[in-house]
Each structure stands twice: as C-alpha cells, then as structure tokens.
Symmetry: D2
C-alpha cells in the first residue's frame, strides 16, 4: 500500500453558490467540500484529496475520475433531484465494484443512497440548533477509534428515528438530541464489494465539520472504506462447469 | 386476527404459456403459481390464497389488489425486463409499507428484488440436475420450524456463491450442491415496515415445489412475513416540534 | 398449538421481602413478579402464567419446572450472586434447548445473562427519576407491534451506553433519557435453539410495569420468544457417516 | 503505528508431545504453533510473533504476557479441560479489554471460545480426509482480501452444521465438503472491545497450515483483529452525574 489513498469529496455546492445561509461563507469559505477536504488532508497525510461539485460536467464524476477514486464522500441537500440518473448509476456500479462511499448528513435523501439501500431513507428532523450527543456503541469498530463518547456537538439540526434504512452491518454511533429524539447517526453497510458509511452530523447552518472529533470520524471512515489494492469489479453472474468435486 | 391471511402468488407464467420445458405441464399442470398456491392452501388452511400472472392487466398487481394482500410471492425468470416499472414501484411501496414478500428462485434477478436490495443479486449457476442439500443454520427461526436438516432435493439447478446481496437480517438456510458449490439459500431482510424472505430452491425444470418440505418452508415464510394487523404506511419524513423534553 | 403457552415470571424478590424501597408495596403489592404475571395474564389470555422466586428451593427453577416452561422472565437486582451456579447452568441448558428467556432491567447483571452473552453486560446508570423515551427503530419486528414510538416513561432510572453486550440479532428499541444518554433498551439474541429478549425499562423504584405500553412490549416479547411446539434439545456434537453424496 | 504488532500463537501441544498422529512431526516439525508462527512471520514482516504452549507455567499466558499481546491465536483439541479456569478468565478479560483473538479449528470447543460465545459450539464432524472448499461470501471484508474463492483444501476433517454459535457479526467464509455438508468456516464476533475471528480449517492430521492461502487468511485475521493503539480496558459500570443536558 505504498500508493497514496485517493479521496474525492463531492458537494452539490448549491447553498454555497446561492450564498445562503448567509453565515456559511464565514465558517466554510471554500464550501463544505473545501472544509471536509482540508480536514482529511490533515488527518490523512498519506492521501490525495480532491473535490468535485454538481455544477461541473457530469457533476465532476466522470468514469475516469471514479476509476481513480478509492473513497467518495457525498454531501447534498436541496438539489438531489438535479443529479443525473446516469451519474447515479455510474457511482452505484463503482461502489458495487469496491469503491468506498461516505454519505454525509442530508445525503441520506440522495439518489445514490436510496438506490443502494432500497428504502425511503426518511427520518424526522427539526432545525432548532439543539445540542447533539454522539455515543459510541461499538467501540471495537475502526471508525470509533480515538473518538470521545459522547462526542458533543453544541448546535445541530435534529435528525430522529424512525430512520428508514435497512439494518446496518454495524451500528457504530447513536445520537441523542436536546429535544429527546435519538438517531442511528453512524452506520455501515456493504453493497457488492463496496463499503459504505453514513454519518449524520454536519449541516449547512452549523460549522460541524470544523470540529476535530467530527473530522476524526470522517478520516476513520475513509480509512475503513478504502480498498486501494482491490481491482474494481462488479459481481457478475457466472455459469461454471463442474470442476471442484469429481 | 380472526381475519383470514391474504396471500397472492405471482408468476410471470411465460414458461407455462410457451410450453417449455416440455415436462413442466406434467408436474405443474396449473403452472408454478398454481402449484405453490395449492400447497399454501393445504399448509395454511386459514389463508385466502389467490394467483396473478404477468400477462394480466397491470400484471395482476393493481393497487386495490395489493391493498388486499398480506404476503406476495414472486416467481419470474425470463421476462423480468417485461415487468412495468410503475408496477415495480407500486410493489416496492407496498413492501415498505408492510406487505410481506417472498422471492423465489430465479426471482433473485427480478426488478423488485434488485430494487429493494440495491445490489446486482448476481450468482453462479449451472443446470446439471444436481442434488441440493438445504442445511438449517438458524434453528430458532420461525421459517425453520419443522424443516428437516438437511432438506434433500434430488435434482435441482445449482445456484452458487458469490450471491451479491446485502448481509441478510437472518441467514436461515445454506445449501450445498453435488458439484461442491454453496449458496445462502434462505435469507430474510426487512425494508421499511416490510419483511422479505428469499428462498432459492424451485425451478421450471424440476418439480421442487411438489416436495412437502419445500412447501413447509414456503408456508413458514408466509406466516413469518405476514403482518395482517398492520395499517400499511410507508415511512415518511416528519418535522415534529419539541414536545418530549422541555 | 392448542396447548396454552406456559410462562414463568421469576423474581429475586429481595426488595419486596426487605420492604425497600418503601413505596414498592403500594404499586407492586404482589411484588414485581406478581405485577408482571398479572399483566401477562391479561395480555395473553391463552397463556398459563405462574411465578417463582429466589428464596424457594432450587430458586423455584427445578428441572421439572423448566421442562414445563415455554418462556421464562427474569428480574433480579441485588442478589445476583446468591443464585446457585447449578441453577444458572440448568437455565442456560434450557435456553440453548429452546426455552424463551426475557431478561428485565437490572437482570442485565444476572449470572444467566452474562453467561449467555459472554460479556460484562456493564452500563452507565443514574437514579434520578428521569423521563425515558423508548423509540422503535425496527417497526417490522413482532415485539414492536402496537407499541407507540416513543413510549414515554415519566420517571425511570437512567441506563446508558456503553452497554457491553454482543451485537444483538435485532435492535428493536433505543431509549433516550432527560440527561442526554442513550441506551439500546430492546434487543434480541438467539443462543442455541433459544430466543432471548432483553428489555431495560422497569425498576423497583418506579411503577413502570404498570404502564400498559410496557406490558404490551412484555407480552409481545413472550409471544416472540415462545416455541411451544419445539421438542427441547440442546445442540450436540455428532459424527455422521457419509450418506448424502455418493 | 510504528510499533511492531505483537502476536502470540498458543497451542496445547499435546499431539506434538505424544507424537501422534505419527506423520505430524514431518509436516509440523516445530508443532502447529511453530508452523503458524513461521507463516505469520513471513506474511506480517512488521510483526513480532512468539509462541506459548499449555505445559508452560500458567500455560504461557501470564498477565504480563497478555499485556504485551495484540492478537492471540488459539489451537487446542484434546486437552481443553486441562486449561486452568483462572487462565481462561484472564484471557477473557484481555479480549473484553481489546486484545484480538483467533480461534482455530478444534479450538471451537475450548473453554475460552465457549465462554465468550455462551453456546455449546457443538458441530458435526467426520475424519475422512475429504476435500474442503472454502467460499468467500463477504468479499469486502478485510479477512477475505487476496483469498481465492473457493480456497481448495485437498484433504481435511469435515466440520458441518449445525454449528451452535451465536449469529456472527460477519460471515466471511462458508465451506462445503465432499460428503455434502456445509459449515460457516470463517466468522467474526466482537465481545467487549475485542475482535474475535474463528477459522475452521486446520487439523493435526492434515498439513493445512502449510497452504499459502490458509496462511493468508490467518495473516489477514491477525491484521483485522489487532488494535495496537488501544489502551486495554474492560468496559465497566459507571454512575455519571447529569452533565450533558441541563
């Protein structure tokens, strides 16, 4: 594994381009993708981290780009429907073939997440700037390494159950909110040969991605999801002859 | 729960209409759907069992039909692509809302199964009339009740790993084949409020559904997947006020 | 299954005999076991519900008693160490052989629970009369049927993560507390042929078992864990000859 | 992680000392522990690999030894009952505190494995020198990396279902045998903070541990189970004050 890890941070980049919420330009001057990429560069000095946004041709997610991506991070919120189905299909194929995928916060409603999971991915939400406490419930998981429990987020949008997802492979974090709701905020899945991590903290209104502990979770997630030595190949049907037992 | 259980057996009915394989008309004179429905009527005397086929209007799966269905069984093989996307969408919504779904054998490649699971659902196969042994690995599961281990199927198409599915909620059966392959042949999933059971034995060339033990598995699967008392409702996004803690 | 379900509610019965906490005699005049048994009789009119307590010979858990028990409920708190190891061994064998087991509240530290799970079963706790909200996260599970989400418990001891248990088969409920902690409050396991359900609400200081919704959960748990038609047999080693393939 | 990984291969060493089976001294001249340690040294050049055997004081598993062990491998067969309970208790505490554990082949009946899992760990077996095929069913798992599917073991003891274990966290490998049986041959668990991997191939009568692919699995397992940066601490009960929400 002497090759550098190749990480791509994708953002719809619509809040940023619209300049709303107004405060966003202060805490995320380079956009959410810029902040996340910057954090990953610091936490994963052996990685090559780049960014892509929805307004680019093919949303910045051409086949050659994905071929060179070990782990893709996905942030979207108000422009999910504007993502081209052909690009979604392409990303899905790469995940099934072994590319890692981290889906962040409101990305729960992205086409790619819903397509990979098969459920509505709906949830309860309330934007009231509540304290969120992120509790580790599987301390042996690589994504929990070095993360305090609870991880305290002073102000955040509430995401609450019922979170309509399939049973995850691993439940790493459960959050509570000041209003009393709970949420499975850190969950892993595998689909095909690919590893998927969903992490709910992070929003356009609160500078959550500037917290070192949140950055640690994302960096851990990238390391966990990456399979740099794997030749990407989607599982295929085969019709083998009898050869094993005679 | 004094209401009878309402079960619908769906078949693409293409092998039957084409008259091939030729022997099929002998062991399945009323089609695969007819044989399965007949078996369920005997094993579940408290159920109302009906059938539907692909050539019917809306494939026999109109909204009013699904509203009256507690558990849907799905058999398809060579006509998956002919299933209308709008019907697939409708069935998915009913599953997410709480309808039980049993997917049988080559239904692994049906649109509805792939859409609910998010993977390719590909596998290895070989049609060589091999003996299949179905071993119970979770004896406490309701679907395993009264099923011998192994359940011996004298001649059957081989389905082998890698079966590209998400980790199931429960792995109930693992099969081996005379050629040495293995297959996760009985697996459960939940998606939304719905319970899903996939069972691989059963084919157009071998009269597998006439075996009493296989019928027992299907009847167990129907009982397990049914939620007759549940008001069907797909999980939805909500935006609740703070009310629990003050 | 015309036979009545046979349910046994076990309690260490030490708080009751000691008369502390003082208020307990008011809300639980027949002890916790009496209250739980009474609730189950009303919710499961087809069941035969009896009770046993620790001060009885063999703790009321002789082999003949367990032979006649489909589901055992276990409540203990301050006398875990006083439970005889031979009785624990016997109960474990019955669970592995197919008897259902519901472990309640402070029973998380019982010998039988720790022995079946292999972990410390430790947790965080605080007795401050806090509101507990029990959220359903797997609505398709039989134990969640008819249970509101959240189920509100006005005053309760706090149990918080890290709850040191193995990954459960199914995570049905997650609780939050007014102090901000979360807890996996409703979890299922299988061990051998037996089904196990742990449910954390319920304490000697708060009349939680008098709440109809809590009673509904317990009744659902009993129905789910029961396998009345199963001949009890612990999985055993076997040394079969080659007979399947020739 | 500049510190070398510290791996300890433990063997009851009874077959070796008794000189039976006779051929064992040829393929395992340094014992099973010697062969496994040698293989790990080659596959994990960054690791410090040592061995310990049952006849040593404290079975070679003193507290100071375990303190310096990141991953322990366990091979035992005919002397399980001779392992001191105090040592078993000590190993369990280290696993719960974060030490990795690989249990090999007949170690399924070891005291430590049964204590950590809570079940009988019984299975079917037949010593008939049958071909075993080890199929990967979770290709995204780190333990499957670089392992062919199937991994072919020409002659091996048969281990078959029902394998009485709890549902594993991850099912990585399923084996079939020439006689038709199947076995969950590669399974992971977590208990406390520790990661556990059970791998069934390997026996005193067949030189299975000399196969490069089997060695690859063990090396992958060691890497996966290791948490070298973790301060070892068994989860404990705590009684925190209200501090998070006020």
């Amino acid at each position: 594994m002497s090759e550098p890890l190749r990480v791509l941070v994708w953002n719809e980049n619509v809040h940023e381009r619209n300049g709303e919420p107004a405060g966003m330009a202060e805490y995320y001057p380079d956009g959410i993708h810029g902040a996340v990429a910057d954090a990953l560069r610091r936490h994963l000095p052996d990685a090559e981290v780049s960014t892509a946004t929805q307004e680019q041709p093919e949303h910045g997610l051409g086949g050659d780009v994905l071929d060179r991506t070990d782990v893709l991070l996905w942030w979207g919120h108000i422009a999910h429907e504007g993502v081209d189905d052909a690009v979604v299909e392409r990303v899905q194929q790469h995940v099934l073939g072994g590319m890692g995928l981290l889906v962040l916060h409101s990305g729960h409603f992205s086409k790619i997440f819903r397509r990979l999971l098969g459920t509505t991915c709906s949830l309860a939400w309330r934007n009231d700037g509540e304290q969120e406490l992120v509790w580790t419930v599987k301390p042996s998981h690589p994504i929990a390494e070095g993360v305090p429990s609870p991880l305290v987020i002073p102000r955040q949008e509430m995401y609450g159950e019922l979170f309509d997802i399939p049973d995850p492979d691993d439940l790493v974090f459960i959050s509570s909110f000041a209003g009393g709701e709970v949420f499975r905020s850190g969950v892993t899945f595998t689909r095909g040969r690919g590893r998927i991590f969903y992490f709910s903290p992070g929003d356009q209104e609160y500078p959550v991605y500037l917290q070192a502990e949140v950055q640690q979770v994302l960096a851990n997630g990238v390391r966990w999801a990456a399979q740099p030595g794997l030749a990407r190949s989607v599982p295929e049907v085969s019709n083998p002859p009898r050869t094993w037992l005679t």
